[in-house]
């Protein structure tokens, strides 16, 4: 061991900008995949209660297949199955690894979102459908003007919960080669050949995730309590 050994804290402080940059990638991946998952999940979730049998079956199959798939396996699938580039006109556009990983997480989250949406729609009393129908609304109007707006409130807490789940699963991307916070950690450990850094570095990362996700969990609980009272 060298004489001018830095304290563990100093190492962590020095590496902090780099660590935070890695963390920012996790946040970025989580937000993009959650946005995708939300849009896709709402579409598929509504599809699950479609009056068209074929649509209903496809949406049901998508939801149940991907809801029961391990996220890491989905990630590998997206990494391996998607081409590394595609052609628009004559121009080759590369698909970066992070985009593939984001898609993998998004599909898993979308399947979960789809079931949340289906559940929320089915939790709306049938009287709402009946009264909208008896006012001559079309099914589409009933869905968009009456049912879905009421679902938003019910969906908000589980949606935030799902987001926290997406966020804590983003380190899986490291396994499929995306440069994010876990890769940064590996870099730090490689640059400082010190065994006593192992635990602090990963603990630091755990803390970052904690301080990012815990407020979301608290807010979710608060919203759940509030909506439980109002109904």
């Amino acid at each position: 061991m060298s004489a001018g050994k830095e304290t563990i804290l100093a190492v962590l402080v020095n590496w902090t900008p780099y660590i935070l940059k890695g963390f920012a990638i996790n946040v970025f991946i989580s937000i993009v995949s959650m946005a995708l998952a939300t849009v896709l999940g709402v579409v598929v979730g509504v599809g699950q209660i479609s009056t068209n049998r074929a649509v209903r079956s496809v949406c049901w199959a998508f939801t149940n297949f991907f809801r029961n798939a391990p996220w890491l396996v989905l990630l590998f699938y997206c990494m391996l199955l998607l081409p590394f580039q595609f052609r628009v006109g004559g121009v080759a556009v590369a698909i970066p690894d992070w985009a593939k990983a984001t898609l993998g997480i998004a599909i898993a989250a979308a399947a979960n979102m789809s079931d949340l949406v289906r559940g929320a729609i089915q939790s709306i009393p049938t009287g709402q459908w009946e009264s909208a129908e008896s006012l001559a609304f079309t099914r589409r109007q009933t869905l968009f003007l009456v049912i879905l707006p009421q679902c938003i409130k019910r969906l908000l807490p589980p949606w935030m919960n799902l987001y926290a789940l997406v966020m804590v699963s983003t380190p899986l991307c490291a396994i499929v080669g995306v440069n994010e916070i876990m890769t940064v950690a590996a870099d730090i450990l490689a640059a400082n050949t010190r065994h006593d850094l192992l635990i602090p570095v990963y603990f630091y990362i755990l803390l970052l995730f904690f301080f990012y996700c815990y407020p979301i969990a608290r807010m979710t609980q608060r919203l759940e309590r509030r909506f439980a009272v109002i109904g």
Binding site: Q128, E130, S131, A132, S134, L135, A136, Q141, P149, Q150
Partner: protein
């Protein structure tokens, strides 16, 4: 409230039948709910359906506006064949307004918005006209000042009156009332009955399923007593309450009055 032009020839000598049902049958799975119900309702008439719970009254009302499809028989509402598979349900529901026991207001919209939604989105009428009419309707059901209130902020009786205004906003030709006071606190029942009484006085055709016998007696032109999916007896309130012929009617009235 101004008259709908569609209802203008109301003063014709022989009022035509607005709702005409013949031998309506309906079963849910193995449970037969309606065993051949026939009923004629003329324009401007108030018809009350009374009878024990589970006798199919509410189901019958739901059949009239095609919320429940029937198994056999015919239902004609304002010239529309409800029993046919290709019935234009939306055209039917513009003719037949329905008010439910549980009000079923849209909880995410204010009272005024609840009344405005259908005319705006279904009839595609301009917002300004709709809002003017909606405010007039809310005043008509005596809820001025509650336009901006959400359903959760209103009492049951107030919500039910908003629900009535919401149905009226579509200018229906007939109003179907499904036990509209059954879920209300006793002190708010009166306000809802006042609203219905005024509607009837204005000549609105009404079909009510009700347990309010005093109200039925006072308001109805015709009373139908149903039991086990059949119409046991029908007649004017004087006939039905004064001298019921069928022992089942007598037993029911004795129990309830």
């Amino acid at each position: 409230m101004e008259l709908d032009p569609r209802q203008a020839p109301r003063e014709s000598a022989v009022p035509e039948s607005l709702v005409s049902c013949k031998d309506v049958c309906k079963a849910f799975g193995t449970t037969t709910v309606l065993r051949g119900i026939s009923m004629e309702v003329r324009k401007g008439e108030v018809v009350c359906i009374i009878g024990p719970s589970g006798s199919g009254k509410s189901t019958f009302l739901r059949c009239i506006n095609a919320l429940v499809p029937i198994d056999s028989g015919t239902i004609v509402v304002g010239g529309l064949d409800v029993h046919k598979a290709d019935i234009d349900k939306r055209a039917l529901r513009r003719k037949a307004g329905m008010v439910f026991q549980q009000y079923n207001l849209f909880p995410h919209r204010t009272a005024l918005q609840n009344v405005m939604m259908a005319p705006m989105h279904v009839l595609k009428q301009p917002r300004k006209d709709v809002e003017e009419r909606a405010r007039a309707l809310i005043a008509k059901v005596r809820l001025q000042g509650k336009e901006g209130a959400y359903p959760g902020e209103l009492s049951g009786g107030q919500q039910q009156r908003v629900a009535i205004a919401r149905s009226l906003a579509m200018n229906p030709e007939v109003m179907l009332f499904d036990e509209v006071t059954a879920a209300l606190d006793p002190e708010t029942v009166g306000d809802v009955l006042v609203t219905i009484r005024e509607l009837a006085a204005e000549g609105m055709t009404c079909i009510l399923v009700t347990h309010e016998m005093g109200f039925a007696r006072e308001l109805a032109d015709q009373i139908y007593f149903t039991d086990a999916g059949r119409i046991v007896e029908q007649g004017s309130p004087q006939e039905l309450f004064g001298s019921p012929r069928d022992p089942r009617t007598r037993a029911f009235l004795e129990r309830i009055l």
